[in-house]
């Protein structure tokens, strides 16, 4: 159900300056690493729903993700769970942030008597949250967030629930690690698209030099390299300048 090797569907087109070929997807297919964003979200929701139903009495469940973009919740099973999470981010305290910071499982038996996060406990109590179980999400040794269940009854969670949450958190961490590799592949895709544009220019300029009488591709490339050295430019810049010069001459010729 949460098998990370589930075949990925093509992701939607990349929002910014979409490259004509989605290399990210192709690369992902090759390395067998990726799930589409949609697949990750769906599978994450499955995990949180599973957490909510397998731990008896749970009001709601969600995943907290912490990265360079900040702290946010994903796959909240109820809006109450999302609100309780938001309170943690706003107050910068709470069981999930502690679970994330320490890498240790956190259990609150009763928010009305627990003194560890006074401000959050009080606010969460008003939302109807009385007991909490929060497990850190670990990818290798890196802590990427936490997964939690909230309950309206005090003293709701015991060792069995802790065990269930540890197992499910491991699945959620795998899924989130997957969406991180998707971002990595998109970055590589952008770099490759840029590299291919440069390569086009160099290949065309090589063709121009061959037409001008260069004996081999190697000689043509050496000429581009020598010109780059003499002008203090890169080979790609020289190639573009050469193509621009050819185009200018041809249009002069056509005009004259």
């Amino acid at each position: 159900m949460t098998d990370p090797t589930t075949p990925a569907e093509p992701p939607p087109a990349v929002a910014s300056a979409a490259p004509p070929v989605d290399l990210a997807w192709a690369l992902g297919q090759m390395s067998g690493l990726l799930l589409s964003r949609e697949t990750v979200d769906t599978a994450l929701e499955l995990v949180t729903t599973l957490a909510a139903t397998t731990t008896a009495g749970t009001l709601g469940s969600a995943v907290t993700v912490v990265d360079e973009h900040g702290k946010r919740s994903r796959a909240a099973s109820t809006s109450a769970a999302e609100q309780a999470d938001t309170l943690q981010y706003d107050l910068d305290e709470g069981p999930c942030l502690t679970a994330w910071r320490t890498g240790e499982l956190v259990r609150i038996d009763d928010t009305t008597t627990d003194g560890r996060w006074p401000r959050w406990n009080e606010a969460a109590g008003l939302l109807g949250v009385r007991s909490v179980l929060s497990t850190p999400l670990l990818v290798g040794t890196e802590r990427i967030g936490a997964m939690k269940v909230y309950c309206e009854r005090p003293m709701n969670y015991g060792p069995h629930d802790e065990q269930v949450m540890r197992l499910l958190a491991a699945q959620a961490a795998i899924l989130l690690a997957n969406s991180q590799s998707l971002q990595e592949a998109r970055r590589l895709s952008r770099q490759l698209t840029t590299a291919l544009a440069g390569r086009d220019a160099v290949a065309q300029a090589t063709g121009v030099l061959l037409a001008q009488g260069a004996a081999t591709r190697q000689e043509a490339f050496a000429t581009l390299g020598a010109t780059a050295r003499q002008s203090g430019r890169t080979v790609e810049a020289v190639a573009r300048a050469l193509l621009a010069a050819v185009t200018a001459r041809n249009s002069d010729h056509a005009a004259g």
């Binding site: 490759l192 001008q212 010109t227 050469l242 010069a245």
Partner: protein, 118 residues
Amino acid sequence: MASDERHRRMDAARVCAELTVQDLWLRYVSLGGTGDVFDLDGYLQGLVSLDVLQQDVLAQALNEALEERYQSYVVPLSTPSAGDGWDDDRLRSLMDKLLGGRPPAHRPEREPRAEEIP
């Protein structure tokens, strides 16, 4: 022996330019290199050979990376330099030379270039 040395120098240059093999490969591809990352890695470690053109493309990629690295450390003088116009002229005259035209015309715009083209 010379070619045996070359891969070592290239790998040393790669380290000096602070490039991973992946970074270097991207630069090499953008200059028209046709080998994959494994070819490159193997060559740098002396395990596989690359043909001369591919070696040259790789050398150029490394030299450009080294130059960028070096330029990032260059300290500008307090007096501003002549500017870029001269550079553009030089590039234009080099292009003329490559295209079989005559070198540095001082009035490049008025040169009746059309007749030079068959």
